[in-house]
Symmetry: C2
Subunit: 109 residues, 2 copies
DNA sequence: TCTTACGGTAAGTAATGACTTACGATTCTG
DNA sequence: CAGAATCGTAAGTCATTACTTACCGTAAGA
């Protein structure tokens, strides 16, 4: 999994809709296509993107393929944002402190 | 902020590099462009995308513009993934339970 | 075996995206 | 006021993407 592939996968609304559908339970391609406003091949292509990004898993069941969310992939993306978020907070706090030091208690304008 | 704009913004490596640069402290456009392998106008365009996505804030300082991470925007994206992640875990657990019920202690194949 | 269901892939298209260089607007400085 | 610095925007280009229809392989059922 790369951050490029993961975030690119999440950038498309159709793929996020697919993930939302899979959040309840694992589903086949045709079943997903029925609830979506795009063709079945389109769903198939989206699922390949999601699979390459490590966000979903596939398990063949006879002639049909069962797709499910991959908690590991989601966890990695989550971890990335967690780190950046904490950095943002510390930088935010540092900036606030700098601001306070520039105008210490009395503002001279 | 829309999830479309936020994830699309995060999908580009150059923009993630910009966010990483901003994680330390707020910076100007030219300063960011110096450390990146793209032109300054490119950085300016990326910053507009990040700003529209709510991931970055701007504060004009004379002729230069100071860009900083926006913790709120990052928090929203984080919340989205958090929800989907928990759903993925419950679905995962439910699938495991179904699997166990289909082959109860002895597997008949 | 023949047929049917299911799904991946090929090929083509219209739209979007990530860049570049060139230019214009605005604000400090001498 | 003149010049320089900083930045946003316009315009153009090449690559990628999100779809479509058409086709092919493969597993289940009569």
């Amino acid at each position: 999994m790369t951050y490029d592939s993961a975030f690119s996968a999440l950038a498309c609304g159709t793929r996020r809709a697919i993930l939302r559908d899979l959040a309840g339970s694992a589903k086949t391609v045709g079943l997903l296509a029925q609830t979506l406003p795009v063709s079945r091949p389109a769903v198939s292509q989206h699922l390949k993107v999601l699979s390459d990004a490590g966000l979903v898993t596939v398990t063949p069941k006879g002639t049909r393929n069962l797709y499910a969310l991959n908690p590991q992939g989601l966890a990695q993306v989550r971890a990335y944002l967690d780190e950046m978020w904490s950095d943002a907070l510390t930088a935010f706090a540092a900036a606030a402190q700098d601001m306070a030091q520039e105008t210490p208690s009395n503002d001279e304008n």
